[in-house]
Symmetry: D2
Subunit: 162 residues, 4 copies
């Protein structure tokens, strides 16, 4: 299982704390992390995964592997700028959004567009014609990751026993 | 000047009427239209442009020019699925969003991410931490297009005289 | 009909002369030109088209329309670096390769991969297991463009009368 | 270190044998494999890597992880068709080309364009103006992989001791 964490370079400190905790929870469940591979929320999530011995994939916008943060195991170099956002979402079994960047919003929209399980943590809410976009939001990392994993399992037909 | 109209295949009938009126206003101002080249809002906007003798560019997600609607003058065939959304936004001097598709939301997010002028017509609103995303919304096609053109002019340093 | 001219920024002067002549021939036949939108062979081809009053489309690798050469009518801004090469080939009804750049070679390969009509002018030859890649080469612009147009017509089922 | 093996779905049986041997040699040197993730040469290379306990990354053209061959550890889902070829080349420290597909030729051209170390095994040769494209070719898997690793090391400034 591959879980995406989407979030920007620039975010409030509590978003970084949250992202690191999300990374830890992803690794504890044996899932791999995929993200944008740069700093901020992305780096915090990667650091959390590595603290628990997990695997991190960084899908980079630029043309050099060297732009990846220090916790990326597998740098994927796209050279396609923001088009790499779609690669992250498409490669993930579920998507966790953290914080309020516009790049994050675009990835949330793609997850919804593609029907990928999406959960939010301190992130955007969106409404059209009085109706909110359909995804669940949580306050803590553990519950968010549990829910993302459960949604990914449900989508792939897997049953896990406690 | 190139103006993007973003909107989905599937939308309520009033969105199609609005999109066609937007297309007419774009052509009347001598701007070209760029859009996703398929049906629904995209086709309606193209039809409006052609009714006024303007030029339409359709940036297609699939691998064949034949998927373009009948009002596309210049089909750009990407074969990159939703990654084509970024090409639309990057190629435009201003972006007009119509309706409530998730693809539309992703393009709005990219426009905001890239700092492109964005105006909305019967479309999404988004908030983060109690603050709305910063773009203007309008109720009618003429005012929306006037504002989009003015924002694009301001960005490129052009002054127009009435 | 849209004809692609592929060729690099850097080429010998005779390639530029050839590219401009190809551009003129494309416009004389009422076809549009699509190319990479930058300098060298691309700029020469665009200049030739504009000298005959035709239309030029430049599919740019970078993030700004301003990088297009002065003869591009419709700049398509991809922000995807060399991935834009595929957009050029996919959007064309036939492809004309000029000169010896590696980017040009990649586009020739894509044209062959996608089954697009391809003709060569002072360009690469390639062999595998003793067999050459299957495309025609010419020495002059007029014959090359005539052949490209004929191949594109054959592919789309059009018959033209002299 | 990440080594790319590029080659098509369709190739003669000896190309598959060669690709599997290349995969084994890559894994024995502790490098990861990146490839297109589908069948043929790609699957054979992945099988070789897994036989030696290595790691395989498959960069897929389509929209579903399920199209990866059974030996892919990390499926990267691009949804961008052949544009994924560039992601493979950009993400690799060196590139090994096997066989005579046109997709393979396009990736060789991109490797040359980007200045990535490239070695060939039973693959294309290309000439422009009487000069061959500059890359080394080998007859056996072991020597080819040794050379690819040495070229990648030289590029990144690493010295290995026998």
């Amino acid at each position: 299982m591959i879980i995406a964490v989407i979030g920007g370079d620039d975010a409030p400190p509590e978003a970084f704390v949250l992202a690191e905790a999300v990374g830890r929870e992803i690794a504890r469940r044996g899932a791999k992390l995929i993200c944008g591979g740069l700093g901020g929320v992305m780096e915090s999530a990667c650091r959390g995964v590595k603290a628990e011995g997990g695997t991190t994939i960084g899908v980079l916008p630029g043309t050099e592997a060297g732009e990846a943060n220090a916790y990326v195991d597998i740098p994927i170099v796209t050279g396609m700028n923001q088009a790499r956002n779609l690669v992250i979402v498409r490669s993930a079994d579920a998507v966790i959004a953290i914080g309020g960047g516009y790049g994050t919003l675009s990835e949330m929209a793609f997850a919804l567009r593609l029907g990928k399980p999406l959960v939010g943590l301190q992130t955007w809410s969106m409404q059209y014609a009085g109706q909110p976009a359909q995804f669940e939001t949580f306050e803590d990392a553990k519950t968010a990751v549990e829910r993302a994993v459960a949604l990914a399992d449900a989508r792939s037909g897997v049953t896990r026993h406690a």
